[in-house]
């Protein structure tokens, strides 16, 4: 097997020029900044980050849809700028959360047409299409016009389109986005099985689901605002937080004290507050266990009842918070404002 990495980037930067008014100079938006990653063959590599982190932009550059602004990127050993053609014969891509396809064609026709662009003989293509449709549970819809499919089923068709060509490197951009829980689980299992079938396959998958990254990926890069902040096996990433103490508290409603009080306690690395009817949940990442005493003292001082207390193992979410200082959800909310 060759030692050439499936994917390699070297200080890859992508800047979008946003043309505003006629007079004003175009504004620049740095979507990727000095991204250097290396994905060996046969790895299922995850890119985890909130909306707007730059995940799709990275996939677009690697799939030759978008030119890099600075730096270099290689797929299967070929330069995305100089040899896009060599790359295209070896890759495929699926984006979740959208319904693409020729609505007037049947599921089989849609897939067959794409197989022809890759030079797959019709017979072989039809065999693969049938087999893969069975696997994703679309077997009985093979002759349905794709416009008659629900968006979830269209997405499954799209997933088959990506896998059908048996690419060396497959890019999955949030493949479970918009799917219901059951379908998402099926798709994750399918992805994992496909990888386990052969050592020659490589996947780069983006997600903003912690669980997906944790369960599915061999290695995960955490990305925010266009920068890769950490990149390792999920277990290794979490190991960084072994020292930290993560607590989940359920309490009676806060009364006479604001959530900010807790943020100000020394040793509280991160804090989130959520109130439901009748109770509230607090989530702490503390620098060490001892800080918990101070937190509990505050509660007692304000006559707040502790209903439940749990110490959690660190998750990738916590790793993200540790790296960025905010949860992914908070980052995304900030984006909207």
């Amino acid at each position: 097997m060759s030692k050439i990495p499936a994917i390699q980037t070297d200080t890859l930067t992508r800047i979008y020029k946003i043309r505003g008014g006629k007079k004003s100079d175009p504004k620049e938006l740095v979507a990727l900044k000095d991204v250097t990653i290396e994905v060996p063959r046969s790895e299922l590599f995850g890119l985890l980050g909130p909306n707007g982190a730059g995940k799709t932009t990275l996939i677009k550059v690697l799939t030759t849809l978008l030119a890099p602004t600075l730096g270099r990127a290689f797929v299967a050993g070929y330069d995305v700028t100089k040899e896009p053609h060599e790359i295209r014969a070896r890759i495929n891509m699926v984006s979740g959360g959208e319904s693409s396809g020729y609505g007037l064609l049947t599921v089989r026709e849609n897939l067959w047409m794409f197989s022809q662009f890759y030079g797959i003989p019709s017979r072989e293509a039809n065999r693969r299409i049938k087999e893969l449709l069975e696997v994703v549970g679309l077997g009985d819809r093979i002759n349905t016009k794709s416009s008659d499919l629900s968006s979830g089923l269209r997405q499954k068709m799209n997933i088959v389109r990506g896998f059908m060509t048996d690419p060396e490197v497959l890019f999955l951009d949030e493949p479970t986005l918009g799917l219901d829980v059951g379908a998402a689980r099926d798709v994750r299992r399918f992805i994992r099985d496909w990888m386990d079938e052969s050592k020659d396959r490589t996947i780069l998958l983006t997600t903003h689901h912690m669980v997906e990254a944790e369960q599915l990926c061999d290695r995960v890069a955490i990305i925010n605002e266009g920068r890769v902040l950490a990149c390792d096996k999920p277990t290794a990433l979490k190991q960084q937080l072994q020292q930290a103490a993560i607590y989940h508290l359920q309490i009676s409603p806060l009364d006479g004290i604001t959530p900010e009080t807790f943020e100000r306690i020394r040793g509280v690395h991160h804090f989130t507050y959520r109130s439901q009817d009748g109770s509230a949940t607090l989530e702490f990442i503390l620098e060490e266990d001892d800080v918990l005493a101070t937190v509990l003292n505050q509660l007692t001082a304000h006559d707040i009842h502790l209903l439940n207390l749990e110490k959690r193992e660190p998750s990738l979410e916590d790793v993200f918070i540790h790296l960025v200082g905010m949860s992914m959800e908070e980052v995304e909310r900030g984006e909207v404002d």
């Binding site: 060759s2 030692k3 050439i4 390699q8 979008y16 020029k17 677009k60 799939t63 030759t64 849809l65 978008l66 030119a67 290689f74 299967a76 050993g77 070929y78 053609h85 060599e86 295209r88 014969a89 890759i91 495929n92 891509m93 984006s95 959208e98 319904s99 693409s100 396809g101 020729y102 609505g103 007037l104 064609l105 026709e109 047409m113 794409f114 022809q116 662009f117 890759y118 030079g119 389109r161």
Partner: protein, 298 residues
């Protein structure tokens, strides 16, 4: 980064022969599926039969008024045929360039097609084939209507078929290349331009000697007509169909058929090279600016 020999490149044959061919034929298949998806046969009839006949009828009425009904004049055949064959211009150019908008905006498949190992110009030209076929129906209908109802002086027995078919083929190649230029422009424009092909065809209508000789144009506009390969294409088609009647248009009467072919061939080659260069340049720009999968909200 150095690459070891284990990564094999695509063979030349794969890249230069198989890829263009399968891009073209698959695209032609797709284009036909879309074009022949006449969920409403009435709409199809309006588009490919009634619309061209109506267009011809307007022309005939205008001609009748201006010439006080000189339908026996060879000039009439000339104008009628020029107008009929001009149907190809908008159709083929639109068919090719439209695919960009259709795939990008409507089906949202352009990015998947773009990252497939296709040959983009061949794909786009393939998508235009179906429009060429439906345009052929329109052209035939228009000419037949002229023969049946307007006593159009066209004798199928005296048609120079080899010359006609050769000229037609050359013209279609030319139009496909012009469509490719428009496809490049379309790719670069983030906002959709629905009828760019028709718009350009309309603009060129007056400069190609379709319905009047270039002599009618003001002096300073005439060179535009002479630079347009369409001018020579229409002239050749008409000469092939109605022979020396052709001389009723003075513009090119001193040019022989062979010379006309030479000029058309040369201009087609120039437009072909320009088409490819322009398309590749636009494609490069679109990739730089991230427009390949850009979807405007409409």
């Amino acid at each position: 980064m150095s690459r070891t020999a284990t990564v094999s490149r695509l063979s030349k044959r794969e890249r230069n022969v198989r890829e263009p061919l399968r891009s073209f034929f698959t695209a032609a298949w797709l284009g036909w599926q879309i074009e022949s998806n006449w969920t409403d046969p009435f709409l199809f009839a309006v588009y490919s039969i009634i619309k061209p006949i109506a267009g011809a009828a307007i022309l005939v009425v205008m001609y009748g008024i201006i010439t006080r009904g000189a339908f026996e004049s060879p000039l009439f055949v000339y104008i009628y045929l020029g107008n009929a064959f001009y149907i190809y211009v908008g159709s083929v150019m639109n068919g090719v360039s439209w695919a960009v908008i259709d795939d990008r905006e409507h089906y949202k498949t352009l990015k998947y097609i773009y990252i497939a190992p296709i040959h983009a110009p061949f794909y786009l030209v393939g998508r235009g084939v179906a429009r060429f076929l439906t345009a052929t129906i329109s052209v035939l209908v228009t000419i037949t209507a002229g023969m049946l109802f307007l006593n159009l002086q066209l004798d199928l027995g005296t048609v120079n078929w080899p010359m006609f078919l050769a000229a037609l083929a050359l013209g279609v190649i030319l139009l496909a290349n012009m469509g490719l230029m428009l496809a490049g422009v379309t790719l670069m424009i983030a906002h959709h331009v629905w009828f760019i092909g028709d718009a350009v065809a309309g603009a060129l209508y007056l400069f190609s000697g379709a319905i009047f000789p270039l002599e009618v144009l003001p002096n300073w506009l005439r060179p535009v007509g002479f630079a347009m390969p369409l001018t020579y294409w229409l002239e050749l088609l008409r000469r092939a169909l109605v022979g020396q009647v052709a001389e009723s248009f003075p513009t090119l009467s001193h040019v022989s058929n062979g010379q006309l072919f030479g000029i058309l061939l040369g201009l087609t080659a120039i437009f072909g090279i320009m088409g490819i260069i322009m398309f590749r340049w636009c494609e490069h720009q679109a990739r730089e600016r991230g427009l390949i999968d850009r979807v405007t909200n409409y």
